[in-house]
């Protein structure tokens, strides 16, 4: 009896199960998104090559901020943030391919950029055309955010060349008493951006005069000819704009020719093994940063440093936080972007852009942003947020 009942009930139960499964699949398919689906945010940065350390530093900052946000319940009512990274190898074409992959394949809600201005400049038109917010966290070329697009989907938590250049000339005069400045610039779009910025800053500064503009290539072995040209023009300080490897070649050339001229540098030299590559004179270069983990830290500084020590085996204190500017900028940028997505209430690019432009006060690591951005200003940091530092051994140490 039991057996017969069982046999007779099996087709019915099987049909019921199939119907239930079909309904469940249909329901899932009909839902636009599961509340548990992560919100994907991208990163296009140099994860290999000469500037690989910069990509690692940015990743650290983004990861620490992301972990904090996810631990606090995520965004958009409980969705976790997921970071999708792509290596641009410091190459603009590879950066654009990586950005396209993040936008169209990974469907990220927004994405962050890396250290190389030429790469970010190449990505800007794609971000604006695709209407996906692009947040710079290191590359400082002025036209990255001031790109004349309307609407503009590019934001930045980092230095801006036009403002840094004013600071570098002022610092050369106030610290070294320099009045004649020789420029040493990498021969790429970033160098050109700074050439324009420094010449504009020179026009508004009566204390200094730019007497020489010299350029060098990424793989120049010896820069004594360029340095000699600046020396012959009477330069009493050099302003250096480049990344770590060619910057190191310049310092070695300066040492070889026995010219102990002061060097004031943009921050590109902090993105690699500058002290190892430049040798004993690495500490002679004073350069700009937006944050230092040395000295008295605020609440956010203590929290981030503790998280870095906890999360990364090779960090025991501020001296092991290489390229701190990348970590600090990325940390604040992740929080600001997450806040904007929450405020937008969706992952729609246009809604996020509008939210970023109208974000309220935010207590960050570098400073209190009040407000971080506006419709007219997509740069969260300004001249009041820069500090000057130098290498002491392998550590980046603030200059009083």
């Amino acid at each position: 009896m039991t057996r017969r009942n069982h046999q007779s009930s099996t087709p019915f139960r099987r049909g019921l199960a199939i119907a239930a499964a079909t309904a469940a699949v249909g329901l899932l398919a009909a839902l636009p998104l599961n509340a548990a689906d992560p919100v994907k945010l991208g990163l296009v940065a140099a994860l290999s090559g000469p500037s690989a350390q910069s990509g690692e530093a940015i990743t650290r900052g983004l990861t620490v901020a992301m972990d904090e946000i996810n631990a606090a319940g995520g965004i958009l009512g409980g969705r976790m943030i997921e970071l999708v990274r792509r290596d641009d190898e410091s190459s603009p074409p590879k950066g654009v391919i990586a950005a396209r992959e993040l936008i169209f394949k990974e469907e990220v809600a927004a994405f962050f950029g890396g250290i190389d201005s030429p790469v970010s400049l190449a990505i800007v038109p794609l971000a604006n055309k695709s209407k996906v917010p692009f947040m710079g966290v290191w590359a400082a070329a002025t036209p990255i955010t001031r790109n004349k697009a309307d609407p503009n989907y590019v934001f930045r938590v980092s230095a801006v060349d036009a403002i840094v250049d004013i600071k570098l000339l002022q610092y050369a005069h106030s610290t070294f008493g320099a009045s004649k400045i020789g420029l040493m610039l990498i021969n790429n779009p970033w160098g050109e951006s700074n050439e324009r910025g420094l010449l504009a800053a020179d026009a508004g500064n009566d204390d200094v005069e730019i007497v020489g503009v010299e350029k060098f290539e990424n793989n120049d072995v010896d820069m004594i000819p360029q340095l000699t040209r600046n020396k012959d023009k009477g330069a009493d300080a050099l302003v250096l704009v480049t990344n770590a490897p060619p910057g190191a070649q310049m310092m070695k050339s300066r040492d070889r020719m026995g010219w102990d001229v002061p060097v004031v540098s943009h921050w590109g030299i902090s993105g690699g093994r500058f002290p190892e590559l430049a040798g004993p004179t690495a500490g002679d270069a004073h350069f700009v940063q937006t944050y230092s983990f040395f000295g008295e830290q605020g609440e956010a500084g203590k929290r981030v440093l503790a998280a870095l020590v906890d999360k990364f085996d090779n960090i025991n204190g501020p001296e092991e936080v290489f390229s701190p500017v990348g970590t600090a900028n990325a940390y604040d940028a992740m929080h600001l972007l997450a806040k904007a997505i929450d405020q937008a209430g969706s992952t729609d690019g246009d809604a996020i852009r509008t939210a970023l432009e109208s974000l309220g006060r935010h207590e960050g690591l570098i400073k209190t942003y009040d407000p971080p951005f506006s419709a007219e200003n997509h740069d969260a940091l300004n001249e009041n947020d820069y500090i000057m530092v130098r290498f002491a051994g392998n550590q980046i140490s603030p200059i009083e």
Binding site: P50, I224, Q226, K252
Partner: protein, 290 residues
């Protein structure tokens, strides 16, 4: 041209000349070259750094081991990238040697890493002396001295030793040399070994002045080939002098016009020089008896 620029030009020129001697030595004997000389140079620098810094070997042991491996690499290039094609009368060794260089660069990329490294300071780069108010580091003297010494040694070897004369015999008539009992294949292997050795020496000498990475030899290799052609690739002295001329021209152009124009003007000058003297500044046209 300032004295500092002059020293720069001589130093760089010696590097180009030394690397170009590697082209000369194989071409003179076998009419083939290793187009990836720049990669072999990179190998010398990377191996020396790895042995001396990463593994902590004594510097002289590291240098000798690196030179031995660069020499072995030259032999491998000949055996794998040249001989099989020459035997079939094919010119595909041109591409094969380029391909071997690319393979080597990528192997180094994955093993040595993508992060450029710098040799630790040594007395050759931290000590200095003054020559008529010009600061000179010992390495800036060592580089040209090494380059010229190798050119002298090569000249002496090929003209004053039995093995050297055997090489010259291969140059003049491989078939006759073979009939006279000279092992032509072995002679060609020796030249490729020497080619690898010269590249290794260049890599070791340039390492303290430059950054060490898998791509550090690419541009050097191209310039060295230009120097070899410019010097007249069948003349050792010509190749070395052409290297010095090229290095000085580079430094002078950068000094006068800025580095934006360096490569444009120097390579344009190479074309002009070759248009005027198709067999190079110091080369002679081959006489073909028919």
């Amino acid at each position: 041209m300032s004295a500092s620029t002059l020293i720069t030009g001589i130093g760089l020129g010696s590097m180009y000349g030394l690397l170009a001697l590697g082209f000369y030595v194989t071409y003179a004997v076998s009419r083939t070259v290793n187009f990836a000389q720049g990669s072999a140079m990179m190998l010398g620098a990377v191996l020396t750094f790895s042995f001396a810094v990463t593994w902590g070997w004594p510097m002289w042991t590291a240098i000798l081991a690196s030179l031995a491996l660069c020499t072995a690499w030259g032999v491998v290039v000949e055996r794998v990238g040249v001989r099989p094609f020459v035997r079939r009368g094919s010119d595909a060794w041109l591409m094969a040697t380029v391909a071997m260089g690319i393979v080597l660069e990528n192997v180094v990329l994955f093993t040595f890493g993508k992060d450029p490294r710098g040799m630790p300071p040594s007395p050759l780069t931290t000590e200095s002396f003054y020559l008529a108010d010009i600061k000179v580091q010992p390495l800036q003297v060592v580089i040209p001295v090494a380059g010229i010494a190798i050119a002298v040694a090569l000249h002496w070897f090929s003209h004053r030793t039995r093995h050297g004369r055997a090489l010259l015999a291969v140059v003049q008539n491989p078939d006759a040399a073979r009939l006279m009992g000279i092992d032509v294949t072995a002679a060609i292997v020796v030249t490729f070994a020497l080619s690898g050795l010269f590249a290794g020496v260049a890599g070791i000498l340039i390492a303290p002045l430059f950054i060490i990475s898998s791509t550090m030899g690419t541009l050097f290799g191209i310039k060295a080939f230009a120097v070899a052609i410019l010097g007249g690739i069948t003349n050792a002295w010509g190749v070395m002098v052409a290297g010095l001329v090229y290095g000085l021209a580079e430094a002078l152009i950068t000094s006068l016009l800025g580095s934006t124009y360096t490569h444009i003007v120097t390579f344009a000058l190479v074309i002009v020089a070759l248009a005027a003297r198709p067999h190079g500044l110091f080369g002679r046209a081959e006489v073909k008896k028919v």
